[in-house]
């Protein structure tokens, strides 16, 4: 009974979960919060983010590669394909997500279709430019050695186009990681979600810095890995 007496004398302070002083006073960065919420908030969001971006770049690469091969073979196809991808790139990301909602709903499909659209322009241009940058003499030498058109493409032209292609993949990957934060407007996934939640909770700084920092680090790490992959794919350039 005495316990109740003590409780009754205390003013009623709302307890937002188990918030520390740092959290309730919204200091710039509370390491305790990050440690407590790494496994239930930040890590899942990070993994979802990687998955969203990886799928988009992979699908975008396949589509852009096919389109670039068509435009490489038939020059006349270049202008319409280029104009279409140029046009898609102009649509603001948030608007494109919303414009797709009537068609595909609040789903991962909506997000992936939008993300893929944004990769197309960069990948298509870089693949095509890489292929067109192969010197005519090299192509003629390949034909002269008896390589068929397909063999020349696979064994000579594509390997020489790798630096330009990888430059495109780097830009596409980094921008996709960046745009994927906006996916949180449509689906509760990715690193944009904790940022939204934090903005809604009187701008909870720790969560914004943690999730935002993860998004930036992810982009930089992906870029670094792709640089290494590019070097591994073109061993003849390192000599």
């Amino acid at each position: 009974m005495s316990g109740f007496g003590i409780l009754a004398q205390q003013p009623v302070i709302p307890n937002f979960g188990a918030g520390s002083k740092c959290e309730t006073e919204n200091h710039a960065f509370c390491t305790g919060w990050v440690a407590d919420h790494w496994s239930d908030t930040l890590q899942p969001a990070l993994l979802q983010h990687i998955k969203l971006a990886a799928i988009a770049v992979a699908i975008g690469f396949v589509l852009a590669f096919a389109a670039a091969l068509v435009a490489y073979r038939y020059r006349r196809a270049d202008q319409p394909i280029g104009l279409l991808s140029d046009f898609l790139y102009t649509i603001p990301s948030l608007a494109l997500f919303q414009l797709l909602v009537p068609l595909t709903g609040l789903t991962v499909t909506t997000v992936e279709v939008a993300l893929v659209s944004y990769t197309l322009l960069i990948l298509y241009r870089n693949i095509l430019e890489g292929l067109r940058g192969v010197p005519v003499e090299v192509r003629e030498a390949a034909r002269g050695m008896g390589l068929t058109r397909l063999q020349s493409l696979v064994r000579v032209e594509l390997p020489l186009a790798v630096p330009s292609i990888m430059a495109g993949v780097r830009i596409a990957t980094v921008s996709t990681i960046s745009i994927a934060t906006v996916a949180a407007f449509v689906i509760p996934e990715g690193l944009g979600r904790p940022i939204f939640i934090a903005i809604g909770q009187d701008v909870f700084k720790t969560e914004i810095i943690a999730a935002g920092g993860l998004a930036i680090l992810l982009a930089l790490a992906a870029d670094g890995l792709l640089v290494l992959l590019g070097r591994a794919l073109t061993p003849w350039r390192n000599a």
Binding site: A28, F87, Y89, T90, I91, P92, S93, L94, A95, L96, Q98, L99, V101, P102, L103, T104, G105, L106, I171, V174, S175, I177, S178, I179, A180, T181, V182, A184, F185, L191, G192, I195, F196, A198, I199, G200, V203, K205, I208, I209, A211, G212, A215, I216, A219, L220, D223
Partner: protein, 225 residues
């Protein structure tokens, strides 16, 4: 962010969205003006900061490392993250969002100005020097006109990027068309899609204007010789 209204997703939403635009010209006009005020201010400041710096560095042929790093770093900064970070800057929403948009707009302008000027054929510059032109004359009469297409292309990229991101600024009190887009509870899916169409048109219009400007500027210089 929570969608309270269970709208049905169907092709029929697009005619509804067009009807929403036709029924609410005042609202959308007001939001578009807000949107372009924020974007315009950000583009203007980004131009003032990045253009002279890029042009001068390109003219001197120094700082390629700066130009490349700025463009790489700029791409790695997600727009939503920047908008959220800018909330810490001050208590003034317009200034916060403008600061974030300026940071987004600087890299493409700076990089394109740098590589546009630096990429001018060295033989042409040497010829001009041989004719007795001063460094300033070379910059203003040779390098700048030749670099214009790339410089304008950089401004176009920045403008499209800034108009697109100004939409996201609505979550941080930015106003503009994003206000309608993130508020489905009030405007329904037709309003959200309608405002998305309007903001796409704004971005497309800005890109078109700058593409025409580029054509106009280059045509004049090509016909001059």
């Amino acid at each position: 962010m929570i969608r309270l209204v269970a709208d049905s997703f169907s092709w029929g939403t697009f005619p509804d969205a067009v009807r929403f635009i036709a029924d609410n010209p005042g609202l959308l006009w007001h939001k578009s003006v807000q949107h372009m005020e924020l974007s315009g201010a950000a583009i203007g400041i980004a131009l003032l900061l990045a253009l002279p710096l890029g042009v001068v560095l390109g003219h001197l042929g120094r700082g390629s490392f700066v130009a490349i790093s700025v463009s790489n770093l700029g791409r790695a900064l997600p727009s939503l993250v920047l908008i959220a970070f800018a909330l810490f800057v001050s208590g003034h929403f317009f200034l916060n969002n403008m600061a974030a948009l300026v940071v987004l707009g600087v890299p493409p302008i700076l990089t394109n100005a740098y590589f546009g000027i630096e990429g001018v054929d060295r033989n042409v510059v040497e010829a001009a020097r041989g004719m007795g032109m001063s460094g300033r004359d070379i910059l203003l009469r040779i390098e700048l006109p030749l670099a214009l297409p790339l410089i304008v292309a950089g401004i176009r990229i920045a403008a499209v990027f800034i108009i697109a991101t100004a939409t996201i600024a609505a979550v941080a009190g930015g106003g503009g068309l994003g206000d309608v887009i993130v508020n489905q509870a009030t405007y329904h899916l037709s309003g959200v899609v309608g405002a998305s169409l309007v903001v796409s048109l704004l971005a497309f219009g800005a890109a078109l204007v700058l593409a025409l400007l580029r054509k106009l500027l280059t045509r004049r210089h090509v016909s001059a010789d």
